[in-house]
């Protein structure tokens, strides 16, 4: 089953009223969401809002307690992570998407289980991320955080995913690196991949996202085109009346 087989109009990923809980404590209270192919959808919100939990539900690491998870038109509640992975879903987990004690090349070699040759993976990767080409024989763990994330993405892309889930891609990285990474994300989306980004740091991702939603305390409190969401962000993150400033620092009122 390839997720690519989905009907063009059906979104690659759809959540309907998804709830999730750790033990008795519910942390996601009914989330609706659509991620169409060839677009970047961003979920923003402060830490502890339930964003990562939602990702876990999508990739099968945590069962939804209610609602439907639909990938390429098929309800996949209860599918295991490796089943979903084979269906074309790929998650880059927060801060640990690489093997630190393997070289860049060896990391890429770990992506050859999907049947692609190492040579073709290397070629495509070094084309997209020239910096990785320069460091192909370096241990991944000794590279900078940004390069590590590039490698994580490169390895994920080598598996030809239909749906790419990115968890806190920008965590701990300097803004300039984050921009570079998101430029690559946008490019990947243009190639037809559906991308769901979960981010605490909103600024850069809003520049590349086609749609965005703000999640606070396990609920989506606002969603729409990125431009319309800017003013809700400050309130979501720092409390208070919010809206005093847009994220770009200009006063709104």
């Amino acid at each position: 089953m390839s997720a690519r087989a989905g009907h063009p109009q059906t979104p690659m990923l759809e959540l309907r009223g998804v709830r999730a809980a750790y033990g008795r404590i519910e942390v996601v209270h009914g989330v609706d969401l659509e991620v169409p192919a060839g677009s970047v959808t961003a979920i923003l919100g402060p830490n502890g809002a339930g964003k990562s939990t939602m990702l876990k539900v999508v990739c099968g690491l945590l069962p939804a307690t209610d609602g439907d998870v639909i990938v390429a038109g098929r309800r996949v509640n209860g599918a295991t992570p490796d089943q979903l992975a084979r269906a074309g879903l790929c998650l880059i987990p927060e801060g640990k998407g690489i093997f630190p004690n393997l070289t860049v090349r060896e990391n890429l070699r770990m992506a050859t289980y999907t049947g692609r040759s190492l040579a073709s993976i290397e070629e495509r990767t070094y084309q997209r991320f020239p910096r990785l080409g320069e460091r192909r024989n370096q241990l991944a763990g000794t590279m900078s955080g940004g390069e590590q994330q590039m490698l994580a993405m490169a390895r994920a892309l080598a598996t030809d995913p239909a749906l790419l889930l990115l968890d806190e891609l920008s965590m701990g990285l300097a803004p300039i690196i984050v921009e570079e990474l998101y430029a690559a994300v946008a490019e990947v989306a243009r190639e037809g991949v559906a991308i769901l980004v979960v981010e605490q740091f909103a600024q850069t991702v809003l520049g590349v996202a086609d749609r965005a939603a703000i999640m606070v305390h396990g609920e989506v409190v606002a969603s729409g085109p990125p431009g319309e969401l800017a003013r809700d962000l400050a309130a979501a993150y720092l409390g208070g009346d919010g809206g005093t400033r847009s994220p770009d620092g200009a006063a709104i009122r």
């Binding site: 404590i25 801060g95 920008s170 965590m171 803004p175 909103a202 208070g240 994220p247």
Partner: protein, 238 residues
């Protein structure tokens, strides 16, 4: 003089500066907040303060006494107590026993007072349950009770509200205010910014290992550097 004073604390992990010349103070009788995005270095600072991690530079002092060379247990005996973000409970023991372990170390509390402390954090109903069996939120409260049982002068709380529901969070906020009113210095690391804004007298904001802002809730909330840190991107870039 501040109860807890960290000055110039610097920690590097293999070339990466986890804390870069950080100054943080916590005054007696006040709740001091320490916020910042994930990975900013908050827990690292706590580990430095209580002696689990040696800084490459900087001084930590408690009530004017320098702590740098003291092992963790001696710092605790001088009045420093903490809770852990990744819970460090005595899972084989009951709630009561967990607190008793701390109270017995120097005999800071008798059995009756231990019960009172447990009641104070709202766990009277589960006093004889094994802590392994508690949900995360309540387990965090056990850590607070355990820390209180050493009768600390300075209390470090690492994400005490995660796993608590809204009502429990409000109660926690009230408890922190009470403790401060009794003269304790409370240093609070917390993701629930609403709680921090409500209860803290002074807030430090940490980003990439540096303090980028200090002030009360209103100041911090409208600080551009803070907004940038939380929302990502640099102001100059946009």
């Amino acid at each position: 003089m501040a109860a807890l004073d960290c000055s110039g604390v610097t920690v590097s992990f293999g070339g990466h500066l986890a804390l870069d010349d950080v100054d943080v103070t916590a005054a007696d009788g006040a709740v001091t907040g320490l916020i910042g995005p994930n990975g900013a270095g908050k827990t690292t600072l706590f580990n430095v303060v209580c002696g689990l991690l040696t800084p490459s530079r900087g001084v930590v002092s408690l009530g004017g006494r320098e702590l740098n060379r003291l092992p963790p247990y001696k710092r605790a005996r001088l009045g420093l107590a903490r809770t852990f973000q990744r819970l460090e409970l005595f899972g084989l023991l009951t709630v009561r026993e967990n607190v008793l372990v701390a109270a017995d170390v120097r005999g800071t509390m008798g059995a009756a007072e231990v019960e009172a402390v447990i009641e104070r954090v709202g766990l009277a109903g589960r006093i004889d349950d094994r802590v392994d069996e508690l949900p995360t939120g309540q387990a965090r409260l056990v850590e607070i009770a355990r820390a209180l049982a050493t009768r600390p002068r300075v209390l470090l709380l690492d994400e005490p509200a995660s796993g608590l529901d809204e009502r429990e969070t409000d109660e926690l906020g009230r408890l922190l205010r009470e403790l401060a009113a009794e003269g304790m210095a409370v240093l609070l690391v917390e993701h629930d910014v609403r709680l921090v804004m409500e209860v803290c007298d002074l807030i430090h904001v940490l980003d990439f290992g540096r303090i980028i802002a200090v002030g009360d809730a209103a100041t911090v909330r409208s600080d551009e550097a803070v907004l940038a840190a939380y929302l990502g991107g640099s102001l100059e870039a946009s």
